[in-house]
Every structure is written in C-alpha cells, then in structure tokens.
Symmetry: C2
Subunit: 227 residues, 2 copies
DNA sequence: AGCAGAACGGAATAAACCGTTCCGTTTGCC
DNA sequence: GGCAAACGGAACGGTTTATTCCGTTCTGCT
C-alpha cells in the first residue's frame, strides 16, 4: 500500500525555495527552534516530543545530531553565545550605566537564555567549550554590573552575583502565552531592579549574596540524590 | 471490623525506641518529610526515591498510602493547611500592615509551602477539599495584601496577585543547603518587597499584574502538549 | 530519461524506569 | 509459643525512551 506522502502543509508557503534541500534548510531551523521551546518547558522532554513539535520525523533529527546529548549541548552553547552577544550589545551603548544594566538584564530575559544554560545543566555532560563560554559570559555580566555599581546607582550591599539570581527568579515566571510571559517578566524586572537601586533610608539586606562557588554548584547534575 | 489494638501509651515521649510501634511512628514522619524534600526537588520523582530518602522500604510507604497519588494529595493538603495557618497567624499580629505582609510572605517562603501546592499541581487529580483549602488560602492572602495597600504602604500599581508571583520567584531559589536557601530567599524577599513599596519618583510598572484566571491556569496539568 | 544518493517518516527494538504487588522475615505483645 | 503488625526488597507488568533500520520520495546530475 502506498501512502501518499503529503508534504507537511506549511502555513504560508515558503517561496521559490522548493525541493529537499530547501526543506532540509527549513528543518535545520525548525528542529532547533522546537527543541528550544520543548526543552524550556520540560528539560526532560523526549526526543520524540521535539521531533513532533518540529513537524518532522525522528530520523530528520538523528541525521543532524548523533544523539540527544549533542543536541542539548548545541542548544546550551547557542544559548551562551546569545548571552554573550546580548551582553556585548548592551555593554557600552547606553550612557547611563543603570539603564544599561537593566536593559542588559531585560535582553537576557527576553531571549529566555538563562534557563537554556542553567535549567538544562545536569541534563548532559558539559564540554570544555561550554565552560569557556560560560566564563566569558560571567565576566561580561560582571563588567556591566560594576559600571552601574561604581556610578552609585545601586544600593551598597548589591553584588554582581545578584544578577544571575535575578535571572533565576524571572525565568521561573512562565505562562502558556509567550508574550504574556515576557510582559510579566518585565513587570517583576521593574520591581527587582527598583529594589536594587540606591535610595535613602534603605535597610540593609538581611543576607549576603551567593558566592560564585554556590552559583557554580548548579552546573552539576541535580539528580545526585539516588543511585 | 476488627479493632486494632491500642498501644499502651508509655508515660510521656521517649518510649522504647526498639519497638515496632515506635519505629512505625518515626516512619510516619520520616516518609512525609522525605516525600516533601524529594518531590520539592523533583515533582516527578519516583516512589522508590522517596522510600530511599526516608530510609525505609517501599512496603512501609504502601502500608500508609494506597498509592502515589494519595501521598501527593496528602502532601498538598498539608501544605495548604500550613499556608492557612501561617496566614492566620500573621493576619493581625502586626500593628504595621506592611510588616505584616512582609512577614506573612516570609513565613510562607520559609515553610516552602508554595511549591508544594503549585509545582505539584497537575501531578495528581485534585480533590474538592483541595479546591476549598486553596480558595480559603487565596482569600486570606488577599486580605493581608489589602490591609497593606489601603494603608498606603505599597505602590499604587501593586496588586494582590503580585503576591503569588513573589512566591513563585522566591521558590525558584533552591540550593543544596537548606539554610542557605532560606537566607538567600530572605535577601531577595527584601529586594522584591522594597521594590513594591510606595516611594517618591517611582516609574509605573511596565506591565499589568497577572489575572486570577492566569494564575489558576497552573492547576491544570502542565503536560498538555503531546498526545 | 534515468540513476545515485541525500533526506525523510515512522515502525521496530532493546533497555530503562516506575508504580504496585507479593513473599519471606523480624519483632513486640498476649 | 504463636499471632499479626510492620517491614525490606525482589518480582512483575506496563509504559516510556533513545536509537536503529528500512522502505519511500525527490533532487541534482549526467
């Protein structure tokens, strides 16, 4: 019995590009995009779920990546590169260092890049490249923070390591509607940054910021409970 | 129906630790405590993981609960009851309504009760009792918020639904060391509450708060993607 | 026109996991 | 001694998952 191979009806036909090569090019992107969405919603999602969300078969995925792990590593590395790009973009564009910091954080949060690099950590074995990218990302964030801090825009007990913690908290906000998620994250970004601002009559924060070691802990598998 | 023998209650606590009954009493607590810890760390953890963490066999668990679902329901109901108790405790003790609100939030966060009721939602089928408890919890939180708001302690665009969102964000902070986790949550509780306070020259928040419907969405299973 | 092979969809496979049951053993109480 | 509550953990069936495999479609090239 011959199954008529109906091409996945793409909503909005993709122009003059026809043929297997064009489909392949589209799939390259579709798979990565779907993987990002699916793994962000559930870091332990199955490969089949990614393929389905991408509208492709499983073989289309395995043609591109040797296995699940490599897909995750690719996702994570891309995420870190995005992080670095956003950081570099915001590191000197703004005259006001506080605004620069806030817009940097907003950029990261909008790109939804933090979950990609931390929530997925422990799901796969890290590569050296990942470590280097991560280090560079940390340095850049540190610099942006320092500029705002030295300009006196932040409360005295603020710390550079508060920034990843802000990512962590904002990333925890996740609704079904992506646009609404972004809007709500902006709302609490406003609240958090306002709380971090220097102001008169501020009481001291009741606990010190996390150390870099503590933050690094999270790159180790979070499943280290059983076995 | 056979009447189970009542144990002779030995005077006071400190009964014979060697007895099976004493071990059973200890296991009652150990299992619930381990279940809380394990499921907080991973809502999809296995029953075996809970038993291991509690230091008991699987049968000790199944002797007490008909199945995994009932254990989760018990955990959730207990969590909601704790929530209500904390709320009632803080609803009128403090003369200053802002402090009352802040300490209420701190109480909830310290009890780590929010994750128990929301992150676990969708993992099991909700019971009517759970719905009632949840409604009551919401009302109490609303009242505590309202008092602080009407006293003018909060910024004009703050909203009662910001409170669950604060829980959500603070709950996302989780380190291996429990005490450190609590301390860091206190730190960002300070930041968030400071950002929510009424103050001069405050810019408006850039997005409206979540609606109650949006918040309720999360009680529905989050796995509604595949199939 | 016709062929080689890239690309694909999806069934097949084998291993892992998970909730639950079952059984043999220990232990306190009469 | 003997009964039953309580327990540990192996066994079981069902489901899930990553990966492989095979038959099919279509493109680029000669």
């Amino acid at each position: 019995m011959s199954t008529p191979r109906e091409p996945k009806d793409p909503a909005g036909y993709a122009g003059p590009l026809s043929g297997r090569r064009a489909q392949a090019a589209r799939n390259d992107h579709a798979i990565l995009s779907a993987a990002r969405t699916v793994f962000l919603q559930n870091p332990h999602a199955s490969v089949a779920a990614v393929a389905t969300a991408a509208g492709v078969g499983i073989s289309a995925l395995y043609r591109r990546y040797p296995g699940k792990e490599q897909l995750l590593q690719k996702l994570c590395a891309d995420g870190l590169r995005t992080f670095i790009a956003v950081a570099e973009q915001h590191s000197d564009a703004q005259p006001d260092p506080f605004t620069a910091l806030k817009e940097f954080v907003r950029g990261i949060v909008d790109a939804d890049v933090h979950a990609l690099t931390v929530k997925l950590a422990g799901t796969f074995t890290p590569t050296p490249e990942l470590g280097e990218l991560s280090a560079r990302a940390g340095t850049l964030a540190q610099e942006i923070f320092d500029r705002a801090f030295e300009a006196g825009a932040l409360r005295a007990d603020a710390d550079a390591n508060d920034i990843p913690m802000i990512f962590e908290q904002l990333t925890a906000i996740r609704f079904r509607d992506e646009a609404r998620t972004a809007a709500l994250r902006h709302r609490y970004l406003d609240v958090l940054m306002d709380g971090l601002r220097s102001k008169q009559g501020a009481e001291a924060l009741s606990a010190p910021p996390p150390s870099s070691e503590e933050l690094g802990e999270r790159w180790i598998a979070s499943d280290a409970v059983m076995d």
